[in-house]
């Protein structure tokens, strides 16, 4: 996990079972979601999650660019995940690297699994995710932001997609890794859940886990996703709910 020959491994889990930032193993970082954070996009959301800041915008359904990607029976779902040069400690060279392209692909496929794309043949639904400040778990934060942005854009879909990374650090299975836990931990397992079906549409893993640890991690991740789901729904209510007084007026 990028720790080959690295020194100064911090203590990731105290004897009392507390993590580097004082969280318990099954605790999420604070998460705040603002639906409709941008004026010009068809749908948007801003997610502040721990020390992550991620903006997502959705455009479409609209004409497909490049044209040859057009499909006659459904909308194509396109996603661009990008990290700003200043979003990490050491400046990241701008532009699409291989990591960003892989993440863009799996996120687009995750949304293609829930969006009712058949309703918009020969169009494109474009998702842009911009990581402004990164502290581990940016693909999950991006997915959550994009999911709320899709809802904000009024795109019909089976469900929202809460996402979170589970991992292993200091020998324990932990929910929602922060940077140190990601860098020095033993495994990282990001996932995205369709809450209504209980199925996963994004799942990746790197590191070492036994079968038993994986089973624990999957349960913990599903639990974590259900918590995030509530925050996502609340963000949409905050933007769209009509106060009772207004409704009757």
């Amino acid at each position: 996990m990028g720790s080959v020959g690295a020194k100064d491994v911090p203590v990731l889990l105290s004897p009392e079972g507390l993590r580097i930032d004082g969280r318990r193993v099954n605790e999420l970082r604070p998460i705040k979601i603002t639906a409709g954070a941008l004026k010009h996009a068809d749908g948007s959301a801003f997610v502040e999650w721990g020390a992550n800041k991620v903006m997502a915008a959705v455009y479409g359904p609209r004409e497909v660019h490049p044209r040859h990607l057009q499909q006659n029976t459904k909308a194509v779902i396109q996603c661009k995940y990008n990290m700003a040069a200043f979003s990490v400690d050491e400046r990241k060279r701008p532009g699409l690297d291989r990591r960003s392209q892989e993440i863009s692909k799996v996120i687009a496929e995750a949304f293609d699994s829930v969006v009712f794309a058949e309703e918009f043949p020969r169009t494109s639904i474009d998702i842009y995710i911009e990581v402004l400040q990164a502290n581990a778990g940016t693909r999950c934060a991006g997915l959550v932001a994009a999911s709320v942005a899709l809802a904000d854009a009024g795109i019909p879909m089976a469900d929202l997609l809460p996402a979170v990374a589970v991992g292993k650090a200091g020998g324990a299975i932990i929910l929602d890794l922060k940077k140190e836990e990601d860098n020095f931990g033993e495994a990282d397992l990001p996932m995205a859940l369709v809450p209504q079906s209980g199925r996963l549409v994004l799942l990746q893993m790197e590191g070492h886990m036994t079968r038993e640890e994986l089973a624990t991690a999957l349960d913990l991740g599903v639990q974590g996703c259900r918590g995030i789901y509530e925050v996502m729904k609340q963000a949409l209510r905050d933007r769209y709910a009509v106060a009772p007084a207004e409704a009757s007026a």
Partner: protein, 262 residues
């Protein structure tokens, strides 16, 4: 009939068969196609292997060169994995910069090799902070009959297992010596066809599927990498059962890698 229409008919047929526990080529849901490994296929490489899974063919070549360690890992060598889906291997591949599919294969294979600690990178360090070996794992897909990830990792690991460090050629030591391989990761890919989850998908099964899941295991009982790809979903219980299947197939293929034969 257009390609799109034939593909649609084939997809329906594949899904119908899967509902009856059958597959187009007569395999059961948990059968791999015939796997063969031919190490040393390219003598100009420091290690190589040609892997066939059914009519999928993938060639991996290893090259080791002296270079500089990364600043943040001064005591370790450098490992680089790259997969090329060259246009000769399929009518669906076009020349040009790597497409997301090729990048995904590269990265999923790289992740398994790295996370399993297949080779001890500290052993590739010559002078800390100054000189180390750079190990290139280059994977060429020659014939795309589906399940590229499993074939690519199998080829990469088999090539590493039979590789030589060219110390004499680069005047880093007196004699060439075998590259030390610590672990043997194997990836197993499954696709969902309706409610069936079948192993080792063909090209047409990948096109028909509702989700693909790859699980990488090693010989010590560790899961070292996973990747869900394509459109579709898996329940946590699906994941757990594919992991068990991945260990069984993995152990069988690890024996083949070490034996170095088909």
């Amino acid at each position: 009939m257009s390609d799109e229409v034939t593909a649609e008919i084939l997809t329906t047929h594949i899904l119908d068969l899967a509902g009856q526990g059958k597959r187009l080529d007569g395999r059961g849901t948990d059968d791999y196609r015939k796997v063969s490994i031919e190490p040393g296929f390219v003598v100009t490489a420091d290690g190589s292997a040609l892997v066939r899974i059914g009519d999928t063919a993938v060639l991996a070549g290893i090259k080791l060169e002296p270079g500089k360690p990364f600043a943040d890992t001064p005591n370790a060598g450098v490992l680089t994995t790259n997969a090329e889906l060259i246009p000769l291997s399929s009518p669906t591949f076009e020349p040009g910069p790597p497409q997301p599919g090729a990048i995904e294969v590269s990265r999923v294979v790289d992740r398994a090799i790295r996370a399993a600690e297949t080779i001890d990178l500290t052993r590739l360090c010559v002078t800390p902070g100054e000189k180390s070996w750079v190990c290139y794992v280059d994977i060429h897909v020659l014939d795309h009959g589906g399940n590229l990830i499993d074939a690519a990792l199998l080829a990469g690991v088999a090539a590493l297992t039979h590789a030589t460090v060219p110390a004499k050629r680069f005047e880093v030591g007196d004699a060439d010596y075998p590259l030390e391989v610590l672990h043997t990761p194997v990836e197993c890919t499954f696709v969902r066809l309706g409610e069936a989850i079948v192993v080792d998908p063909t090209f047409d099964e990948e096109r028909a599927c509702q989700g693909r899941l790859t699980v990488a295991t090693d010989e010590t009982g560790r899961i070292v990498a996973m990747q869900k790809g394509l459109v579709g979903a898996f329940s946590p219980d699906d994941v757990k059962s594919t992991v068990e299947r991945a260990f069984q197939h993995g152990d069988r293929m690890r024996a083949m890698i070490r034996g170095g034969a088909g």
